[in-house]
């Protein structure tokens, strides 16, 4: 089966960031994303869970360039003050020409 090499960017963030993160993902060239509500604990511990609402996990399939732009933006704008984790992994995608 034909597959395309793409990057899966995953971001776990506080719920208040949802609108801004999804807008930035689309602005930087992604064609879509998937959001799920998640629970967990990190170095910021209880602070994340302080605000009502559950943390979100955003996943998006993008090209290497878009992935780099997204991770740079996360490091610059979100890491300093918000509970955000982001990573990128190489994946093989069916119908990858869509992305």
């Amino acid at each position: 089966m034909d597959t395309h090499d793409l990057i899966l960017v995953t971001i776990i963030a506080e719920p208040v960031l949802e609108d801004r993160l999804t807008r930035e993902i689309m602005d930087r060239g992604a064609t879509g994303y998937t959001i799920t509500e998640v629970r967990g604990r990190g170095t910021r511990g209880i602070r994340t869970g302080d605000i009502p609402g559950q943390s979100i996990r955003i996943e998006t399939l993008v090209t290497v360039d878009v992935a780099d732009a997204l991770l740079d933006r996360a490091a610059e704008a979100w890491f300093p003050h918000y509970a955000v984790v982001a990573w990128a992994s190489p994946v093989r995608v069916i119908r990858g020409d869509k992305f």
Binding site: I46, I51, A77
Partner: protein
């Protein structure tokens, strides 16, 4: 609207006309179903019971309470001439502008919190808790005190200005200037409380005469109070969860949460009486003024002032000021309204 004297004596001493003391009022409040339900919620959390209301039921009850409050307020608002409520509206707006400033100054100068944390907490104390408002109405109903029916209009007015004033102070003091104020304005103005409360007010106001009676049984009376009890039970659980944070946030936050409530409560009662509200109306305005937000303010502060520590503001408003007002504050503001009048 009748400005009547205390009628609590009727409940205890049918043939006596002397005013009830603070002890009697306190006792009546402490043993009311909503205070007891709240205490049960806290106890459930203290003994680490797994009990908590399903999230959707809690949200549903919140929607019901806010919409009912708006509807009833709108129906009553339609009955009063607009000119008659201008002064109470003006005084409420003034309270909305003053409270974030007094909170900020006290936090910064007396409690010595940092500028951004002070602004974050001040945003919560500049806004209002609708549940405290409803609890005050229920308390006054219990002591037989009349209140102006249009008071929910004042609640809607007090909700948002304070948040924006405090956030503006915070944005000036913050090193991070990239936060979107327009987005925050949208978030606060289209939040659950504003849509249901203001929407309910409008619906109640424009409702055709005679149609309120069709739904009154559902939105008013025993069903409303029963729903409030259940809501307070879960509020107790939510507040109880934060009690452990008190150890970390320290004594000065505790003193602030209680002290600020009393100062703002007295200010609200005095302003209400000066604006011509009844003793009951002034008590409710006092309770509103003394309360702090825990629904509208937290996400707005998190979005605009990410450097502010949310544990401080939420612990103060939910674990200190809210329980204080429910248990002691409301009867206290009533007593102060009686004294001042």
């Amino acid at each position: 609207m009748g400005v009547s004297g205390p009628k609590l004596s009727r409940l205890f001493l049918p043939d006596c006309t002397w005013s009830p003391g603070l002890t009697e009022i306190l006792q009546l409040n402490l043993l009311s179903p909503i205070t007891l339900a709240f205490a049960l919620g806290i106890l459930a959390r203290i003994v680490r019971s797994e009990f908590s209301l399903p999230k959707d039921v809690y949200a549903g009850l919140g929607i019901y309470l806010l919409f009912a409050l708006g509807l009833k307020g709108g129906v009553e608002l339609a009955k009063v001439p607009l000119g008659g409520i201008m002064l109470p509206l003006l005084v409420t707006l003034l309270l909305g502008c003053i409270r974030p400033l007094t909170s900020y100054v006290v936090l910064r100068r007396l409690a010595r919190f940092g500028p951004v944390d002070s602004a974050g907490i001040a945003a919560h104390y500049g806004s209002v808790s609708a549940v405290t408002f409803i609890a005050a109405l229920t308390f006054l109903d219990g002591v037989g005190e009349d209140v102006e029916g249009y008071l929910p209009t004042l609640l809607a007015l007090l909700e948002s200005p304070g948040i924006h004033i405090a956030l503006a102070i915070g944005a000036l003091k913050s090193s991070d200037r990239s936060q979107p104020m327009g987005e925050v304005l949208h978030e606060v103005l289209t939040g659950r409380t504003m849509v249901l409360l203001v929407g309910g007010l409008v619906v109640g106001y424009v409702m055709a005469p005679g149609t309120w009676e069709q739904v009154e049984l559902f939105y008013d009376g025993a069903i409303f109070k029963g729903a409030l009890c259940l809501f307070l039970l879960e509020m107790g659980v939510v507040a109880g969860e934060r009690l452990s944070d008190l150890k970390r946030t320290g004594l000065k936050l505790l003193v602030f949460g209680v002290g600020m409530a009393v100062v703002h409560g007295v200010l609200g009662v005095a302003a209400g009486l000066a604006a011509g509200l009844s003793i009951g109306g002034a008590t409710v305005l006092g309770a509103m003024s003394a309360s702090a937000s825990y629904i509208a303010a937290p996400p707005a502060v998190r979005m605009t002032l990410p450097e502010a520590n949310p544990t401080l503001s939420l612990t103060a408003s939910l674990a200190i000021t809210f329980p204080f007002n429910i248990v002691l504050g409301i009867p206290l503001y009533y007593q102060i309204a009686l004294w001042l009048s």
